[in-house]
Amino acid sequence: MGSVGRGFQLEARRVKLSAGERTLDVALEEGAASLGDRMVPFAPRQNGSTLVAVEHGGQVFPVRAVREGDRIFVWTAGRTFEFRIEPAAGRGPARIRSTGAESGLLSPMPGRIRRVLVAQGDTVTRGQVLLILEAMKMEHAIRSPRDGRLARLMYGEGDLVEAGVALAEIE
């Protein structure tokens, strides 16, 4: 099996991974992987130094995978999945996800602060537009999630923000 061992060192390895809500301890040994409490036989198949497929239960399935920082992207059977490497000891600090669902105070997308409609210290009401964020030709209004006082504004007009970062604090 010229391909195995090429690039991959298959001494026992263990890593905690999460995908969406699922978290799993994955351990790889020569020829077998333990996924949580299940053991499945496997072997990597490489094209030069590129992983093209994984043998699983006697058959070989196409796969692409790449790591960037603590994020891992995997393609298989026409679908793409994003994993995160979790600190070995339990879950790490809660990570901010950029769905924009949890709180209007998080940037729902990367972009530029187009306008700031309030000032620090202002009292704001639920639903009030605080900022206008713009990205890729699209405007997005950031509204206050509740009544309160605007304790902090993290960015000013023209600032560039990433997805999922806090934009303001409301008391």
Binding site: G7, F8, Q9, R13, V15, L17, A19, G20, R22, L24, V26, L28, A33, L35, V40, F42, P44, Q46, G48, S49, T50, L51, V54, H56, F61, V63, R64, A65, V66, R67, E68, I72, F73, V74, W75, T76, A77, G78, R79, T80, F81, E82, F83, I85, S98, T99, G100, P108, M109, P110, G111, R112, A135, M136, K137, M138, H140, L160, E162, A163
Partner: protein
Amino acid sequence: MDPLPRRLLIANRGEIAVRVARTAREMGIEPVGVFASSDAGAFHVGHMGRSVDLGPGGPTETYLSIPRLLAAAASSEASAIHPGYGFLSESADFARAVTDAGLLWIGPPSDAIQKMGDKLQARRRMRGAGVPVVPGSDGGAERPGEEDLIQRGAEIGFPLLVKASGGGGGKGMARVDRPEDLPQALEETRRVALAAFANGHVYLEKFFESPRHVEFQVFGDRYGSVVHLFERECSVQRRHQKVIEETPSVALDPRLREAMGRAAVEAARAVGYIGAGTVEFLLDERKNFYFLEMNTRLQVEHPITEETLGLDLVRAQIEIALGAPLPAPWRGGKLLPQGHAIEMRLYAEDSNEFLPRSGRILVWEEPAGPGVRVDAGVGAGTTVGVDYDPLLAKLVISAPDRASAIERAKRALSEWVVLGIETNAPLLAAVLASPDFRSGRYATDLIRRLPAREAQDPPDVAWIAAALVARNGAVAPSGDRPEPPRSWDPWDEASSWRPGA
């Protein structure tokens, strides 16, 4: 026809810049690219004959700067300019400036752009030319005041749309459901319109619950001939912007196609149109069609017309700009579309809220094979920022019939490997799989009516692959900076491998 320019400056970026460059090369013209200094490594720069640095600043100071673009043409000795779509493609000022600078403008005359650019003016002209327009507030007074509009609103009925005269393409419009919301909507739309289009005029339009959006490709030459190259069905939209287009449209029978085609040609004639343009129509449940707007440039979705007719529309644009008449077969009505074509737009955005994503493309494998064309504006290693349109690439499918085109589209989509940035591929797959799309009975509300795209649990092989990659990159040799994942580093082997060893 005038002699071909030696160099053609492409005042754009992304996939359309690469697309135009390809035709230029085939005609023996050297394509010249432009880029903002901050965008120096953009994908399109790697696909030109040469490129010119537009200097520092954002889009406004670079890709949208007429003086800098003209300077770039001068320094590269380009004698013609193609604007692509977006950016300055529908700027009458740019068209005029290019012509005044003694350069060849690959686009319609500036006054045609102007006439169609002001939506209110355009609606008035169309009415004059006997082209049906969407019922709206602009029947009477040149510039109706606040009260007029509110009264007209009552006449038109709710829900209705407030539209910016300078807007278009889904930008600068707001839906109003109740009369009491109209005043605020007018104010907000005016604000946006002023900021975005430097034109605060707004008007009201009848709102259709679920219309179809069907457009016709038109071409005119400088000898007065105007023809249409059939329709494109553009009803698959999110945020009022197209995601999937196809041709022919299942909604059109020969008679309706003929009537709409004639209206499209009339619309173009009414403004003395020359070159490539697109007339957009709304088509309601009762198959009544209404003029919506005319795009005085090449459309993003032009490839599906190219595929079914076996034409190169960019070549036609250039030849017509050089004074060539429309090809004889076009005028003779000899043109017949073959088979079916579908375009899918791959955007860097999530599949549920359609919010843009930025990041770096780490793995990029395009679909290929029979009936598959990809027009891409990115590749492996491309960084997708927030300053430009999130369109990554267009997947264009052709097949003998609609059913096999859909199967081919699913196949091609399943081959597309994009890792490192979230894309709307799950949305595209959901549309292809939806009964409404497959039956062809769908309208602009198709995506709204789809079930949400749910994240699926990864299969075993995905967990295993992730673990392989995670562990290989986890051995940190120096401080906290993890070592490049061995198995993924082409240099690991390359540098130790020797030819003849």
